[in-house]
């Protein structure tokens, strides 16, 4: 009985007691059919080398990485595994890559992350080491948008943390693809009003939400007002 009570409270408090010392980009196994930001990161790593490129054109090609682990990703993973026989194939008892991202492949991928993200973005072992106060995780975040409002064509600067080399900026009216951040802390893009030009003089200022999605995940939104 005592043991049962102890186990109950231990399991209840375990998630709070456990502290992750290191950041893991690949926290789960990946295989055909799964999707997520970790798949996007995987494809970016694969596309960093010509021999492991997911696709030469279309979805999965460099700059067009997707969230979905399809057949092309599986084949590219298999080619990557073949490049690491000592680290992946031999310990797993494989003669060739199988396209399944298990613990051995994930360990290799963790080492390869640094090859695709700016140096200021590379985690240094502690989750909060580079993060500002009130930001306990490594996810991308936007702290400021400048200016706060403006008409169609306004160049907007986003300031925040964990911006990657390529980021997709989502707005309430659509997506700005592959916007790059050289320093990992600022992003610039041009506002495009969704309101047809002929109608703009009739429409009051339009409030939109802006946020980014990159290899670190999705940031929270920030407001912008499109004026006429």
């Amino acid at each position: 009985m005592r043991l049962t009570i102890f186990l109950f409270f231990f399991l209840l408090t375990f998630p709070f007691l456990s502290v992750r010392a290191e950041v893991s980009f690949f926290w789960r196994n990946l295989s055909l059919g799964v999707s997520g930001d970790d798949v996007l990161l995987l494809q970016k790593i694969l596309n960093a080398r010509a021999e492991t490129r997911v696709s030469s054109f279309g979805v999965g090609s460099p700059g067009n990485e997707s969230l979905f682990f399809g057949l092309k990703t599986k084949n590219a993973v298999a080619r990557l595994q073949a490049l690491y026989p000592k680290e992946i194939l031999l310990p797993a008892g494989l003669s060739s890559g199988n396209g399944f991202v298990g613990s051995l492949t994930r360990a290799v991928l963790e080492d390869l992350v640094a090859s695709i993200v700016p140096s200021s973005d590379t985690p240094s072992g502690n989750i909060s080491s580079n993060a500002p106060t009130n930001s306990p995780s490594l996810s991308s975040s936007i702290y400021n948008i400048s200016p706060l409002s403006g008409p169609d064509g306004t160049i907007v600067t986003l300031s925040g943390d964990h911006f990657a080399l390529t980021n997709n900026i989502y707005t309430s009216y659509g997506i700005h693809h592959d916007i790059s951040s050289s320093d990992g802390k600022t992003l610039r893009f041009t506002i495009t009003s969704p309101v047809p030009e002929a109608e703009r003089k009739y429409v009051p200022p339009l409030a939109i939400k802006v946020y980014i999605v990159n290899v670190y995940g999705k940031s929270g939104p920030i407001d912008f007002i499109i004026t006429n």
């Binding site: 989502y170 009216y173 969704p194 109608e199 009739y202 009051p204 339009l206």
Partner: protein, 123 residues
């Protein structure tokens, strides 16, 4: 012969079904009575309004034309209410009009409802 224990289990299952089913019907009737429309589908296109916000035309499976009124309609993740092609799910109260900017504010477009809450897909 049915044992007493089996009879108890059977009665428990039957009463659970009635309780759950009844509560669902009750909720549905209440929703209708309160004049709330639930909608969900892809955004087909958007008309901007002179009185602010936009008319959102939602396709199947639960289609309709709904007025997204800035400051009134609550927008949830992924916030893409002006993006044709994304999926939306939300509810609205009956009524609402949009003075169409396309017509130079001369035409009034009636909405099936004014959006109360709406969430969108990422793409």
């Amino acid at each position: 012969m049915i044992k007493k224990e089996q009879l108890k289990i059977f009665l428990a299952i039957i009463s659970s079904i009635f309780l759950i089913g009844g509560s669902l019907l009750w909720t549905q009737n209440n929703t209708r009575a309160a004049g709330i429309i639930n909608f969900g589908g892809r955004i087909l296109f958007v008309n901007y309004c002179c009185n602010g916000g936009a008319m959102v035309h939602v396709g199947p499976p639960n289609p309709g034309t709904f007025y997204f009124q800035a400051g009134v309609s609550k927008l949830f993740d992924a916030y893409q209410i002006y993006s044709p092609g994304v999926w939306v799910l939300g509810n609205a109260t009956y009524g609402g009009v949009c003075q169409s900017a396309e017509s130079g504010c001369s035409a009034t477009l009636p909405a099936q409802g004014t959006i109360m809450n709406v969430g969108t897909s990422l793409r």
